[in-house]
């Protein structure tokens, strides 16, 4: 796995697992790999994956069953969707608006392009 510098590795791994849940590789209520298995898979320190799993647990995307390991929460897909939407709305969109202003692009032009893309 290639890591970007701008985001902590444990969150990048969380993104990866969310993608995999979204694609159905790990179905809801299905087991995900153990910390050590996942650490070996992405070639990182096991403690990093422990933090990833803690984070995903706090976001109610995965849960533990004592002695059995980690499982995907029943409503994980919906959770991931709303998390991603909020990141897009609150982080990526303001950045996009900033770019529009810097480059002097009126929002109407964007609306028109968005409409055209919809038709094609």
């Amino acid at each position: 796995m290639k890591f970007k510098e701008s985001r902590p590795i444990y969150l990048q791994i969380a993104d990866r697992i969310c993608d995999e849940i979204h694609q159905g590789i790990y179905p809801e209520d299905g087991r995900i790999p153990s910390v050590r298995e996942y650490a070996a898979l992405v070639e990182v320190n096991a403690n990093t994956v422990v933090r990833t799993y803690d984070y995903l647990q706090s976001q109610e995307i995965i849960y533990t069953r004592r002695g059995l390991g980690y499982f995907v929460c029943p409503k994980a897909k919906k959770k991931i969707f709303s998390l991603r939407k909020s990141v897009f709305m609150n982080v990526e969109l303001p950045e996009f608006f900033k770019q529009l202003r810097t480059l002097g692009i009126p929002i109407e032009e964007i609306v028109r392009m968005y409409g055209e893309q919809d038709e094609s």
Binding site: K4, E5, S6, P8, I9, T48
Partner: protein, 281 residues
């Protein structure tokens, strides 16, 4: 603490001193990266830790026991893979049966899975291997001994490109909470994602001994174009994008990924300034 190095002085002869009043403490459950300039005593330190060398003054304690005593219960809990070594010209099976009695926690299962991860099998002969293969075979044995302390000196030297990735996988899956792995290296990019603790030494001083999480909550590593520099930077270094920079992390939350090369260069160039950043909060 698992390993305590207390006020150690050491030199290979009377005129020259490698360590002078050097101290360092390491705990279990971590993968340590030991970094330092050439000739600052990284390998010597590893030999002192494993009882292969004895300090002139001071002591090295493993689980509270002086390693210089070379007690069997101490030595059976540690294994070192030096940078260069010679293996006897015997089959791996013979080597294993001769050496495993020294390591009570030896695991055949681990040996098999490590060999498999490195695309090797148990029917190899140690006299017929290339340098890289020899290194891999010895590392497999080292991991299979399942000792609490595993020390590796420049483990990625001599490994081909796929083996470096296999090496990371093998170490990541062999890690457990009661273990510690110490890796000394100059090839920081081979191992940076594997580490959760960084130690930088320079002769008699420990310049840095901190967890990666701690480092990332105090420092931000990023790329800026020359126009974006604010003067707030702790360290800058030219890069393809403009400048690789280290900024103080004012938020205190972990922001980005550790850039080990940048951290190493910054720590060697400005040891006091870097130490101060960590002491501020």
């Amino acid at each position: 603490m698992m390993m305590e190095i207390k006020n150690v002085s050491f030199g290979y002869n009377r005129k020259q001193t490698v360590f002078d009043d050097f101290s360092l403490t390491l705990g279990e459950g971590s993968v340590y990266g030991l970094l330092g300039r050439n000739g600052t005593g990284k390998s010597t330190l590893l030999y002192l830790m494993t009882g292969l060398l004895r300090p002139r003054r001071g002591e090295v304690l493993y689980q509270g026991v002086n390693v210089s005593l070379r007690r069997p219960e101490t030595l059976s809990q540690m294994f070192i893979v030096p940078e260069e070594f010679t293996l006897p010209k015997v089959s791996l099976k013979q080597f294993v049966s001769l050496n495993r009695p020294f390591y009570p926690r030896f695991s055949d299962e681990l040996l098999c899975s490590c060999l498999r991860d490195f695309d090797m099998n148990e029917d190899i002969h140690l006299g017929e291997l290339s340098m890289g293969q020899k290194k891999k075979a010895y590392m497999c044995f080292a991991l299979a001994t399942n000792t609490q302390l595993l020390v590796m000196d420049e483990p990625s030297n001599g490994l081909d490109i796929p083996s470096k990735s296999q090496f990371r996988r093998v170490v990541a899956s062999g890690m457990a909470e009661d273990k510690a792995v110490i890796i000394s290296t100059h090839q920081v990019r081979d191992i940076d994602s594997l580490l959760d603790h960084v130690v930088i030494i320079d002769g008699s001083r420990t310049l840095l001994n901190r967890s990666v999480a701690d480092i990332c909550s105090h420092l931000c590593f990023t790329e800026l174009s020359s126009g974006e520099l604010t003067g707030d930077e702790l360290f800058t270094q030219p890069s393809v994008h403009g400048q690789s920079v280290i900024l103080p992390n004012r938020l205190g939350e972990e922001e980005g990924t550790l850039n080990l090369e940048l951290l190493f260069n910054a720590t060697l160039a400005h040891p006091e300034k870097m130490a101060q950043v960590f002491n501020e909060k």
